[in-house]
């Protein structure tokens, strides 16, 4: 029998954290029929870009190496070994040894260096990637943390990133390749959003006024929103009482519970449910609503499914081009400075 290698002792020490600092990836698929939710980075675009910046090549069709999803900020880390990192997503103040540093660029930390992430100024979720990716057990093919299911995360048991723990990752032995993304490719926060809603079949059985009323309403993101769903506030929509057999729920589904206030399901959504649904946000729109902060406003407009598919394909292709550009820069950096030269 081969003995398992001891776990990596190099990595990132966690000095400050909370339950919304979690290990995430592209999510867990294939378990929905057994009740496992998909999980994964809410803003998968930002997570993939963070990975591509530090040279963890990934494509829109493939897995996303594990990253830290930091919701609302307030986290601090110390490097045990030299590490190459990048932070993307929401605009959170970033301090390296108490000096401000930029998001969307590679950061080389030396052993003992302190990285602090302050409270978000704009946007709900930032992503921290490290060259080589964080090491964590794969549960059904994913490290995605789902607190409620006690699945995934650093220990596989669903815990968030806890203070005092060491997040294992490989040390970085080369220079900083100094890669960055231009400003226009950063996440830009809008505190008022208009998002496309694909009308669902249950619209036929809901109040006929909904089709007209829903796009007229402005909704507010409430503080009760989390990775399960965005709970919206505002003037309640008309709901017709009906009892529905529970049916499968997809990411982005907009449920209308009896109080008439919509809930948009995010990555940790339950797999089945019985509330009527008006339709669903596309994956791209889910990334955007998931970045909204408490008190931000959102409006919806109807979009047909075929157009939504085309827009989603265009969005994924545009992201793929950004990932390809970064991969190409890594190749160039390797050619000029031998930065990619492997130790063996």
């Amino acid at each position: 029998m081969t003995q398992r290698l001891p776990a990596s002792t190099s990595g990132l020490w966690v000095l400050q954290s909370h339950s919304s600092v979690q290990l995430q990836d592209a999510g867990r698929f294939g378990g929905a029929a057994a009740g496992l939710t998909q999980g994964g980075a809410v803003d998968l675009t930002a997570a993939r870009l963070a990975n591509a910046l530090v040279g963890n090549h990934n494509s829109v069709t493939g897995p996303c190496p594990p990253v830290l999803e930091i919701t609302l900020g307030n986290a601090a880390f110390r490097a045990e070994q030299p590490l190459l990192l990048a932070v993307t997503g929401a605009a959170m103040p970033l301090l390296l040894n108490r000096q401000p540093v930029a998001r969307y660029r590679t950061l080389l930390l030396q052993a003992g260096d302190l990285l602090e992430i302050g409270y978000s100024r704009a946007g709900a979720r930032a992503y921290l990637a490290v060259a080589g990716g964080f090491e964590a057990p794969l549960i059904c093919g994913s490290v995605a943390t789902v607190l409620r299911e006690k699945v995934g995360g650093p220990d596989g048991q669903g815990s968030a990133v806890t203070v005092g723990s060491l997040l294992p990752c490989q040390p970085w032995r080369q220079a900083d390749p100094q890669l960055s993304l231009p400003y226009h490719q950063h996440y830009h926060h809008h505190s008022i959003r208009a998002l496309a809603l694909v009308g669902g079949a249950q619209l036929d059985t809901l109040d006929p006024q909904l089709i007209r009323l829903l796009p007229q309403r402005l909704f507010r993101v409430t503080a009760r929103s989390d990775r399960m769903g965005m709970l919206l506030g505002g003037e309640p929509l008309p709901v017709r009482a009906q009892s529905l057999y529970s049916e499968g729920i997809c990411l982005g589904a907009m449920q209308l519970p009896p109080n008439g206030l919509p809930i948009v399901m995010l990555n940790d959504h339950q797999t089945i449910g019985g509330y009527p649904k008006t339709g669903a946000l596309s994956r791209g729109a889910c990334e955007q609503i998931g970045q909204l902060m408490t008190g931000n406003l959102v409006r919806f407009y109807w979009l047909d499914a075929a157009t939504a598919v085309l827009q989603e394909r265009q969005r994924l292709l545009a992201l793929q081009l950004q990932l390809d550009h970064l991969a190409a820069q890594w190749v160039q950096a390797g050619d000029s400075t031998e930065i990619r030269q492997m130790g063996n």
């Binding site: 029929a33 009740g35 694909v198 009308g199 669902g200 049916e247 982005g252 499914a305 939504a308």
Partner: protein
């Protein structure tokens, strides 16, 4: 495509848009009186056949009561294409005669007692029957697995004898023991893991019902048939039951 369309003239199943990457097959027109064993046999058949038909474009499939949710990869397929595939295959997908693969039948041991079922006496009293009669009624019949959700491995089994129909607790318990066998309304279930819960607890099943590392993760799936078999305390402990 329209929000909801019948699949074909012969088959009243409806195909419904759920999102840019999801379609729902609504089977309710086949069961005007609600889901029953026949519909669950069809659901079982679809659960096994649809992944073969749709291949790797299918990301997730969630059967539940009268529907099957299909989540697909928008880079590989779209609503129209899946609709066409389902239409082309409808003759063998929806013909009950072709359903060779009948669901599994699983017996679950259950230790009905006050120590494992804190609501046993209260539920019996509520329905003015003896605890022994309650246990007999709960274990006398087979149940269909109608849906799995709420928590990983939590299966909704139905439907229990009308005489046992019981509302949920007004205030859910903060902690229900793993393996607890419970009823609510006309359904019954086993809590696969310790969790909060508002169902009425009658006993405990020592069988492990959800294992992330097993393949499949559960001993049964939607469409299968389950029956509880009353066991004594000693047998419950021998089977690995925890008190």
């Amino acid at each position: 495509m329209r929000l909801s369309v019948p699949l074909s003239q012969d088959i009243p199943v409806r195909l419904c848009v759920h999102s840019e990457q999801a379609l729902l097959l609504d089977l309710s027109p086949l069961a005007p009186d609600g889901p029953g064993p026949e519909l669950m046999q069809l659901l079982q058949h679809l659960r096994l056949q649809l992944p073969l038909l749709l291949g790797d474009a299918l990301l997730e499939l969630v059967p539940s009561y009268t529907s099957v949710l299909l989540i697909f990869d928008v880079l590989k397929t779209d609503h129209q294409h899946i609709g066409q595939q389902l239409f082309d295959a409808s003759a063998w997908l929806f013909r009950p005669a072709d359903m060779a693969a009948a669901g599994k039948f699983i017996e679950l041991p259950c230790y009905y007692s006050i120590e494992t079922g804190p609501d046993l006496l209260e539920v019996a009293a509520l329905h003015q029957i003896s605890p022994a009669e309650l246990i007999r009624l709960h274990s006398a019949q087979a149940y269909q697995v109608y849906a799995i959700g709420f928590a990983p491995g939590f299966a909704y089994l139905g439907f229990i004898n009308e005489r046992l129909q019981t509302p949920r607790l007004a205030t859910p318990r903060p902690q229900v023991a793993a393996g607890s066998v419970a009823i609510a309304d006309r359904q019954t279930a086993v809590y696969p893991a310790a969790s909060p819960g508002g169902w009425r607890l009658l006993g405990n099943c020592p069988t492990l019902l959800f294992d992330l590392n097993a393949s499949p993760m559960m001993p049964f799936a939607v469409g299968d048939t389950v029956r509880f078999v009353a066991v004594e305390r000693a047998e419950f402990l021998r089977l690995g039951g925890q008190l």
